[in-house]
C-alpha cells in the first residue's frame, strides 16, 4: 500500500497538480503568488537591519521630503522620509492577511449555510436563501463606509470580518446547488439505509464532495477582499495603524504626489493589480482541475 493510496486528499492533490501544471495561466499565477509570498516574508528584514526602515514609524533622519530611488532607499522615500520598499513589503503581508482570512471566513460561513439550506430544504432553505439574496444585493463598500462613518476608524480585523460577512452569499448559493444535486445521489440513500444520521451524511458524505468547489471559490474571494480593503484604505477609511497598498496610494493622493512621484505611485498600484490577477489566474487553473469539461483534449484526467 503506497502513501498515495493511503491518503485520499494527498492523492487527489497530486492528480490535481499534474493537471494544474499544464495550465499556463496557473503557472503564471502561481509564480506571481510565490513572488508576493516572498515579499511578505521579506517584510521582516528591513526593520531588522535598521529601525529607520520600519514601514510605519521609521523615518530617515536625513530626509524630510519625498525622494526618488537611491542606493539607501531602493524605491525612494515618501513625504516624511519613510522607505517605500519596506512599506511595499509590509503591504504584501497585509494583503495576504486580509485576503486569505476574509476568504476563509466567508467560505466557512458560506459552506455551512449553503449545505444547511440545501440539505434541510423547505422553510429553512427559503429563509437562508432570502437572507443571502438580501446581503448579496448590498454594496459591500458602501456599507463599510457607512459603518466607518458611524464608528470612526475601523480596525483591520473589523474590516476583514465585515468583508467576510458580506461575501458569503455567493458561495452559499453555489454550495447549496451542489448539495441539492448530491442529496439525490444514490450513495446518500445508501448511507441512509446503513443508518447514518443527518450529521454524518452532511459531514462525511456531502462535505468532502463540495469542499473542492469551496476551495476554488476561496481564490476568487481572496481577490475580492484585497480589492475591497485597498479601495477602503484609498478612500481614507482604512486602519491607520496598518501599512497596506491602498494606504500607500492614499498617502500619495493626499500629499499631492499623484503625478509628481511615479516611483511612489506605481509600485503599490501594480502590486494590487498583480496580486488580484495572480489569485484570479490560480482560480481559473483550479477550475480546470475541478471541471473536466474545461480541459483540453490531450490532457489526461
Amino acid at each position: 500500500m503506497t502513501v498515495r493510496e493511503r491518503f485520499p486528499l494527498f492523492n487527489s492533490f497530486l492528480e490535481g497538480w499534474s493537471i494544474f501544471k499544464q495550465s499556463l495561466l496557473g503557472r503564471i499565477g502561481l509564480a506571481l503568488l510565490v513572488l508576493f509570498a516572498l515579499m511578505a516574508v521579506c517584510s521582516y528584514i528591513p526593520p531588522w537591519i535598521d529601525p529607520m526602515y520600519n514601514p510605519m514609524t521609521g523615518v530617515d533622519p536625513d530626509i524630510t521630503c519625498c525622494t526618488p530611488p537611491s542606493l539607501r532607499h531602493w524605491l525612494g522615500t515618501d513625504f516624511m522620509g519613510r522607505d517605500i520598499l519596506s512599506q511595499l513589503l509590509a503591504g504584501a503581508r497585509v494583503a495576504f492577511m486580509v485576503g486569505i482570512s476574509a476568504a476563509v471566513m466567508s467560505i466557512v460561513i458560506g459552506v455551512a449555510i449553503g449545505m444547511t439550506a440545501g440539505y434541510m430544504g423547505r422553510f429553512i432553505d427559503t429563509l437562508l436563501m432570502r437572507l443571502a439574496d438580501m446581503i448579496m444585493v448590498m454594496p459591500t463598500l458602501l456599507v463599510i463606509l457607512i459603518l466607518a462613518a458611524i464608528f470612526g476608524q475601523l480596525n483591520i480585523w473589523t474590516i476583514v470580518l465585515i468583508i467576510a460577512l458580506f461575501r458569503w452569499p455567493g458561495v452559499s448559493r453555489i454550495i447549496r446547488g451542489q448539495t441539492l444535486s448530491l442529496k439525490q445521489r444514490p450513495f446518500i440513500e445508501a448511507a441512509k439505509v446503513a443508518g447514518a444520521s443527518h450529521f454524518r451524511i452532511i459531514f462525511q458524505h456531502i462535505m468532502p464532495n463540495v469542499l473542492p468547489l469551496a476551495f476554488l471559490f476561496m481564490t476568487f474571494r481572496v481577490t475580492a477582499a484585497i480589492i475591497t480593503e485597498a479601495a477602503l484604505a484609498f478612500l481614507g477609511f482604512g486602519d491607520p495603524g496598518t501599512v497596506s497598498w491602498g494606504m500607500m496610494l492614499q498617502w500619495v493622493w493626499k500629499t499631492g504626489h499623484m503625478f509628481k512621484a511615479p516611483y511612489w505611485l506605481l509600485p503599490p498600484g501594480m502590486c494590487i493589480s498583480l496580486i488580484t490577477l495572480s489569485f484570479y489566474m490560480l482560480g481559473r487553473a483550479m477550475d480546470e482541475v475541478l471541471d473536466p469539461r474545461l480541459r483540453k483534449e490531450d490532457q489526461t484526467d
Binding site: 444514490p186 440513500e189 464532495n209
Partner: protein, 347 residues
C-alpha cells in the same frame, strides 16, 4: 423451495399503496397523481429469495424503497418479524436498519467517490458501533473476501474510480452484508453490468443466502435472472400484483396473460418474431374501461369484454399453489369495501 421455512414470514406487506401526488401551485394546476403501487400484499418467508418482476415503471423499485423506509407508504402497513416498520423513527428506525439493507441498482452512483472501499464498507459498522477498529477491519476483510474481492488488502484503500463495475457492485454488496442483516433488498443489482459479471453477482447473492441465511427480495426486469436466483416470484404491472408463485412454475407455465406476454417478449435465439408462445399482448391499445376495470385490460388480447373492463380481478389462489389476478383463471372480483385477501400462505 430449498431452505424456506414456510411458517415464518419475515416480511409482511399489507395492502400497501404509494401514490405520488402531482404538485400544483398558485399558477399551475396540479398534475396527475401517479399510482406507483396499488394495494400490494405479500409475504416473504425466512431464507427465501423472493423475486419482484416487472417492466420499467411498474413500481417494483418503489416497493423496495418502501420496505427499507426510504419512502413512506401512502397507505397500508409493512411488518418485519411481526413488528410494524412503517413510520419508524429515531432509535427504532436505526435498529431496523441494522436488520434490513439494500443493494442499489447503479454501482457507479451508489458509492461515494470520495471514500475508499474500507470507508464505505466499514461505515455501517461504525454507525451501529460494532466492534473496535481492528475488529471492524477484520470484519471488512472477511466480507470483502466473501464477495470475491481478494486479496482484500488490495482493495481496502482503493477509490471507486479505480474499480470496475462488477467490483463496485461487489463493494456495494459487501456494504449491505457487513452488518449480517436478516433481509436484503437487491434492486436490479446487475442491470448495469454485463452478462458474465451478472452471473457472478447472482452466485454471490446465492452464497450469501446459503452461508448467512439472508432472506432477499430480488427486484428485476429479467425473467431469466429471476428464474436463476429466485424461489418465488411476483409479477407486477403498473403497481398491481398480477401473478405470484414458485419461480419455476410461473415462468414455465404462466397463467396470467401479462406474465405470458413477458415470456413472449424475451428474445429467443434463432426464432423470428412470429414464434410467440402465447400472443396475449394486443398490438393496438384499446379503450380502457372504467377505473374499476383490470389494469391490464387495455392491452390484453384475451380479455373478456363482459367483465374485464368493469371489475378488477383480485389475487386469488389457484389449485397449484400460486396466485393470479385474472378472471380467465377464475379470480374473484376484488373487494374494495373491506380488506382484501392478504395471506398467500398456501404457496
Amino acid at each position: 423451495m430449498k431452505t424456506t421455512d414456510e411458517n415464518k414470514p419475515i416480511l409482511q406487506i399489507r395492502n400497501v399503496s404509494k401514490i405520488y401526488r402531482g404538485k400544483g401551485n398558485l399558477f399551475r394546476s396540479p398534475g396527475k397523481d401517479v399510482v406507483a403501487l396499488n394495494r400490494i400484499s405479500l409475504d416473504i418467508f425466512k431464507g427465501e429469495i423472493f423475486g419482484l418482476v416487472g417492466e420499467s415503471g411498474s413500481g417494483k423499485t418503489t416497493a423496495g424503497r418502501l420496505v427499507v423506509s426510504l419512502e413512506e407508504t401512502t397507505s397500508g402497513r409493512i411488518f418485519m418479524e411481526n413488528r410494524e416498520v412503517t413510520g419508524l423513527k429515531g432509535r427504532s428506525l436505526k435498529a431496523f436498519r441494522r436488520k434490513v439493507q439494500m443493494i442499489f441498482q447503479d454501482p457507479y452512483q451508489s458509492l461515494n467517490p470520495q471514500r475508499s472501499v474500507y470507508d464505505t464498507v466499514s461505515e455501517p459498522l461504525k454507525i451501529h458501533r460494532m466492534g473496535n477498529a481492528s475488529e471492524r477491519k477484520a470484519k471488512v476483510k472477511e466480507i470483502l473476501k466473501a464477495v470475491g474481492l481478494s486479496p482484500p488488502d488490495d482493495f481496502l484503500f482503493r477509490y471507486p474510480h479505480r474499480l470496475s463495475g462488477g467490483q463496485r457492485q461487489r463493494v456495494a454488496i459487501a456494504r449491505a452484508m457487513v452488518l449480517n442483516p436478516e433481509f436484503v433488498i437487491a434492486d436490479e443489482p446487475t442491470s448495469m453490468l454485463d452478462a458474465s459479471i451478472s452471473a457472478q453477482i447472482f452466485n454471490i447473492l446465492l452464497a450469501m443466502r446459503k452461508d448467512l441465511g439472508v432472506t432477499q427480495m430480488f427486484i428485476t426486469h429479467s425473467l431469466a435472472a429471476a428464474r436463476y436466483i429466485c424461489d418465488r416470484i411476483a409479477v407486477i404491472y403498473r403497481g398491481n400484483l398480477m401473478e405470484l408463485g414458485p419461480a419455476e412454475a410461473v415462468i414455465q407455465n404462466p397463467r396470467h396473460p401479462y406474465t405470458q406476454a413477458l415470456i413472449d417478449a424475451v428474445p429467443k435465439f434463432g426464432h423470428a418474431k412470429e414464434a410467440k408462445l402465447y400472443g396475449t399482448l394486443l398490438a393496438k391499445r384499446r379503450e380502457a374501461g372504467k377505473d374499476k376495470g383490470c389494469i391490464f385490460y387495455p392491452v390484453c388480447a384475451v380479455a373478456d369484454d363482459a367483465i374485464c373492463p368493469r371489475k378488477k380481478p383480485g389475487l386469488t389462489p389457484l389449485d397449484d399453489g400460486r396466485m393470479v389476478a385474472c378472471f380467465r383463471e377464475g379470480s374473484d372480483p376484488e373487494q374494495t369495501s373491506f380488506l382484501p385477501h392478504v395471506s398467500n400462505k398456501g404457496v
